[in-house]
């Protein structure tokens, strides 16, 4: 498979990013009806605010809806560049502020889940490839397929019922205990960790199966190559062959693939945060959709999509820089 030069790739990503921003601009405008109705939430019939004619005119002017489309578009792009994502009608706060407030929680559980699923997925994948065809491999394969067949929201609901409601060992929802006076920083950290355990497990499960399968298949191919055969002939210990010889070669492609599956994790994140009422961006997005707070929906949408794309591009670029096989294999 040929790969384009990094500069071309960057150009492609930039074009994609521009397309996404344009879709975001066009969406409320190509749907029949006045975009203002979407901004105030009246389009759906259950508005969260009542707006009189004067305010309407003011809003129309504020959002430049009285201007020609081309001008609206330029103003929209300029606003994005200066970090202005509009104003939430429901929360009565700038959207940027809401996102800055929720992003750390999302990053906390997302990054933890990505690390956990990569470590465990890769570890189990290597083990499975080494035991290829044996009972342990088959068992793991079935288990991984099982986790992939279960949608993240079902797993999250079941985890919540079992561990929070029935056993009562972990908190039901939220990211911290409300109105709690912590006796020390350590107590506070412990509280945060206790709240993030279940959401993180549910998110990890979304990625674990994919990572495992990817590692397993890559490693099975590598373990069949000549240089691994030579390493075996030399009588090297198994773990050195597996981790120093084989995995080292497989790791970079695996990590790149993992980053490309980030989009998958985003979907899981929206469900998991909603179910556990975790105060992250996924939950913010859900609330904004339910309350028809379209400025927030659009803001979260743009921030998440651009982040995912930047990570994808970064990983792909890094991969090309580090791995000479790809650089020369154009």
């Amino acid at each position: 498979m040929g790969r384009a030069k990094p500069l071309n790739r960057l150009l492609e990503y930039l074009i994609t990013a521009w397309l996404i921003l344009t879709i975001n601009f066009a969406l409320p405008r190509i749907i029949p009806g006045d975009p203002l109705l979407y901004l105030t939430g009246e389009a759906s019939g259950d508005a969260s605010v009542a707006v009189n004619e004067r305010t309407r005119e003011k809003l129309r002017h504020y959002y430049n809806l009285d201007q020609p489309l081309s001008r609206q578009y330029l103003v929209y792009l300029a606003g994005l560049l200066s970090g202005d994502l509009g104003y939430s009608i429901y929360y009565k706060t700038p959207v940027t502020e809401l996102i800055i407030k929720t992003a750390p929680w999302t990053l906390l559980i997302m990054i933890t889940a990505i690390i956990l699923s990569t470590v465990f997925g890769t570890g189990l994948g290597v083990f499975s490839a080494w035991k290829h065809g044996h009972r342990a491999d088959k068992g793991l394969l079935i288990f991984a397929s099982g986790t992939m067949a279960m949608p993240s929201f079902i797993l999250a609901i079941l985890l919540q019922i079992i561990f929070s409601v029935k056993l009562g060992v972990l908190p039901v929802s939220g990211s911290v205990t409300l109105y709690e006076n912590y006796s020390s920083v350590f107590d506070r950290l412990l509280d945060i960790v206790r709240h993030m355990i279940l959401p993180t497990i549910a998110l990890t499960a979304v990625l674990l199966g994919e990572n495992y399968l990817l590692t397993r298949n890559t490693m099975i191919n590598i373990l069949n190559t000549d240089y691994i055969f030579v390493a075996r002939m030399k009588g090297l210990p198994t773990w050195i062959i597996l981790y120093r010889h084989a995995l080292r070669n497989a790791l970079l492609p695996i990590l790149t693939q993992v980053s490309l599956r980030l989009g998958l994790a985003v979907g899981g994140m929206i469900f998991v945060e909603t179910i556990f009422s975790y105060p992250g961006m996924g939950n913010l997005l859900y609330r904004s959709v339910i309350t028809h707070d379209y400025a927030v929906t659009q803001g979260v949408f743009v921030v998440i999509t651009l982040t995912v794309m930047s990570v994808n591009f970064g990983m792909e670029y890094l991969h090309q820089c580090i791995d000479p096989r790809i650089r020369n294999n154009i």
């Binding site: 409320p28 979407y38 397929s145 279960m150 949608p151 409601v165 298949n217 985003v266 379209y294 999509t305």
Partner: protein, 284 residues
């Protein structure tokens, strides 16, 4: 062609195919085997399973079994429709790109890349928020965001087929693009189309259940996701035992159906051209 693939399925493939046929049967005969109207209030709220209500009743006294059966119909309808139209779209685009190559191929593949790199579920949720969530809107949106994977994989198969001697020979003898598409390519990519159909149908069913759970699918259509939504709106039920016979039936049905899809596509995969699927794995 397809028949030989089905016959060479392994045991888990056959079992999962059986489950899929069973689910299809339930969904077709749904209104006949359903004991009650799923919307009628036929009993006391939150009853345990009994002879009148095999799976008990929900918070307003509707029969859970009837709701599960209606949900089966909705899920199968969405899976089949989305799978069919999305498969048609992927096949058409793959043929356009793979047969004509050149600029059209490059443009189409860039579009495929775009669709593959975006977080799908996020797009689906945001677009539904704007277009409204009638069942037809949900189906169209799911089709729109699910064809890209299949287009890529079928195109790869077409490219590898085009290098085979019998197709080269046909070209040398002056066969038209149309002739090659209908006589050679379509029959040979059919199993792969079935494979992408299965994957898309499974994605569509899971996504619709998720959307309905969030309350973003058609509220007038009974579905498994809608049942989850109702349960979640009545969370107190978790503190009694009622959730077991209210929540677990749709959970069991959904995971069983999705597992059957997964196992079936795994088994089918083994009978397909492994090289094309390997390329596909690397490209995603």
């Amino acid at each position: 062609m397809l028949w030989s693939h089905l016959r060479s399925l392994d045991t888990s493939g056959r079992i999962s195919l059986g489950i899929l046929c069973l689910v299809l049967g339930v969904s077709i005969s749904g209104h006949r085997i359903s004991p009650y109207d799923p919307r009628a209030y036929t009993g006391e709220p939150l009853q345990q399973p009994s002879r009148q209500h095999w799976l008990g009743t929900n918070d307003v006294g509707q029969d859970v079994l009837s709701q599960v059966i209606t949900g089966t119909r909705t899920s199968v309808l969405i899976g089949v429709l989305v799978g069919l139209f999305s498969g048609l779209l992927s096949t058409t685009i793959a043929l356009l790109a793979g047969v004509y190559r050149g600029l059209i191929d490059r443009v189409l593949m860039r579009i495929v890349d775009l669709f593959l790199s975006i977080p799908r579920l996020l797009f689906i949720i945001v677009v539904t928020a704007y277009t409204g969530s009638s069942i037809s809107n949900v189906i169209i949106i799911l089709i729109l965001f699910s064809w890209a994977k299949g287009a890529r994989i079928i195109r790869a198969q077409i490219l590898s087929l085009k290098e085979q001697t019998h197709i080269e020979a046909a070209q040398i003898f002056g066969a038209s693009h149309n002739y090659i598409i209908w006589q050679h390519l379509l029959p040979e990519i059919l199993p792969l189309t079935v494979y992408t159909f299965i994957q898309t149908a499974s994605f569509a069913i899971a996504s619709e259940a998720g959307l309905a759970y969030l309350g973003l699918s058609d509220p007038s259509v009974g579905s498994w996701g809608k049942m989850f939504h109702d349960i979640q709106a009545y969370r107190g039920v978790y503190y009694t035992d009622a959730w077991i016979w209210w929540l677990m039936p749709p959970v069991f049905c959904l995971t069983t159906l999705l597992s059957a899809f997964l196992l079936f596509s795994h088994s089918l995969q083994k009978t397909l051209n492994p090289q094309v699927l390997a390329t596909w794995d690397r490209q995603l």
